[in-house]
């Protein structure tokens, strides 16, 4: 037992101290695990995490749960198309103009949304964080250049840009992701940069430089673990933005025509019925979009309380 301050005794793992090279991934693993625990403690955060988990499950197991295919036309026993049926036992969320089961569409559409949401969010955070790290650490010309670029990107409105881009490179999942990533990295980079600007002045950074660390090492092994909380925060916000962005793009009909997503359900609804679309067709996808975005925001909010006053361990 080691006698630590405040009279605490800590159980040590004398038999297996982590001294191998993997020991250096520990700061990251511990950081990630800590953050998850923090979010779980907050009520809203917990709701958000449960909802998110639910949607992830839906995305994974959708094809096994959904009673019908996404584009499968449903027929009555006597051969009539089940067009625009209101909710019933056979179709709990009714059917569309084309006779497709709305419930199945919503379930199967989850996968597209979750994939686009998570992949874009991940890339947004990776791009934004790296730019923020480099700018904040090196300052000078590199910083000026990249920050000017960020300013320009801030000026670009998302939807018009997405429309133009997709009309050039064509529709598809990757197009949506590219459009989202190209614009949304801007907030993350700003915020991470300002964190790095203050972190780089702290004595432990100087200490490791005195030991001879290269710039790369200082940035990625010492500063980065400490901005991870902020990156995590912006990752959750990025999920929310990406989901909303995907919904908007699909709603405009620019989504992947072969894969159903919630936005696309709404696209078809408005395409065929306009504002007189029946409630069972537009409410489910709309609510789902809202819930997923909100859950990501709740997680982010729960986390923000801690991410901002950095390092509460003192």
């Amino acid at each position: 037992m080691v006698h630590l301050k405040c009279g605490y005794w800590k159980r040590d793992s004398l038999n297996k101290p982590r001294t191998g090279r993997m020991a250096h991934a520990q700061p990251y693993f511990k950081a990630i695990w800590d953050q998850i625990g923090i979010v779980w403690e907050d009520t809203l955060g917990r709701i958000g995490m449960i909802l998110l988990f639910f949607f992830i499950l839906l995305a994974l197991f959708g094809p096994f749960i959904a009673p019908y295919g996404a584009y499968e036309k449903c027929w009555t026993p006597d051969g009539k198309l089940e067009r625009m049926q209101s909710p019933s036992w056979r179709h709990p969320m009714g059917t569309t103009y084309y006779g497709r089961d709305v419930l199945s569409q919503v379930i199967l559409g989850t996968r597209q949304v979750v994939i686009v949401g998570f992949v874009s969010a991940l890339m947004v955070v990776v791009v934004g964080t790296n730019i923020g790290l480099v700018c904040g650490y090196y300052k000078g010309n590199v910083d000026n250049l990249l920050m000017r670029l960020t300013d320009i990107v801030y000026g670009i409105p998302f939807l018009p840009f997405a429309i133009v881009l997709i009309s050039i490179i064509g529709k598809g999942v990757s197009s949506i992701i590219i459009a989202i990533v190209l614009i949304l990295w801007r907030s993350t980079s700003r915020v991470i940069r300002s964190q790095v600007l203050s972190l780089r002045e702290r004595p432990f950074v100087l200490a490791v430089k005195v030991s001879g660390a290269s710039d790369f090492r200082v940035i990625y092994k010492h500063i980065a673990p400490n901005i991870l909380p902020m990156a995590f925060l912006y990752a959750s916000f990025a999920i929310a933005w990406a989901v909303a962005a995907e919904a908007s793009i699909s709603f405009l009909g620019l989504g992947d025509p072969n894969t159903i997503s919630w936005g696309q359900i709404l696209f078809y609804a408005f395409l065929t019925q306009g504002v007189t679309s029946p409630y069972w067709w537009i409410i489910p996808p709309g609510v789902c979009i809202m819930l997923l975005v909100m859950s990501a925001f709740f997680i982010g909010r729960a986390y923000e309380k801690v991410a901002n006053p950095q390092l509460r361990e003192r």
Binding site: H3, K5, C6, G7, Y8
Partner: protein
Amino acid sequence: MSSEFLRIEDLVIQYKTREGFIRAVDDISFSMEEGENLGLVGESGCGKTTAAKAVMKILPANGEIACGRILFRGRDIVPMGPKEMRHLRWRKIAMIPQSAMNSLDPVHRVGDQIVEAIKAHRTISTKQAKMRVQELFDIVGLDTNRINDYPHQFSGGMKQRVIIAMALALDPSLIIADELTTALDVLVQDRILMQLNELQHKLNMAMIVITHDISVVAETCSRVAIMYAGKILEYGDLTKVFKNPCNPYTLGLLSAFPSIVGKKRELISISGFPPNLLHPPMGCRFWERCPFSTERCAQESPPMVKVAQDHFTACLEIHRIEEMRSLATRPETWRTRLKPLKG
């Protein structure tokens, strides 16, 4: 007959935390006369700042005075409501918190900040307040032409003087100074302490000097209270305490403190660290780190006993004081422990 100026009796202050109550100040008592200078000495976490904040009743939201009395000029402050306290605060008792000079608002002129402080505690016109600021600048030795400057235009020492001026604004009879000169350079510190001393005599102001620096206390105070882990271990006339220390902790502090005069001597270091105040030890707070402690010290909490006129100590082994005094100056004394501790 001197009316008692300030008397603290059996004061207990606790903080509410998620893990329970922390008794930051545990049953302390001391008193002060008018115009006197009392030093409150101790290391980090001993409760000195908490005790001071209690006198001003500016404890944070989770802090409360659990029991005891604080008698200021005969009246108990503890049950006073916010309205009554406002009459006392700044007018009768002023405080200079730690690092106060860094909390000057950078976007407002220094003169305006003092005026604001004055008007917050007394209804007078801005014009009169401004006149008072001129007076104050004179008193603390600042150039009155600089009243309209911004904080960043002042050096550290000058900012500290602005803070002192702010505290003096309403002519308080008691000033509590928390680590007044810790962040200052040596020459500046010297000047400020000298000036404060003069001011005290001129205005007949009492002062509580809170610090971990015993040399500052030795030069400015006439009486001293030595605190450790929420308790006062030794207390009384400063010369008596420093010249005839009657507590192992005091001995430790004195032997650990380097001096620029006299023969160069070996400094001691007390191993270990203060106890966790969530679960304070049953006996003497210092027993774990004390080289002279016995089994009894671990069980019984020592009461304050009088060893001379205006000299009190809380130690069960006081009869061994001669032996303790001779052993305390040797580093080995403080290294051998009943249980191995590292720190």
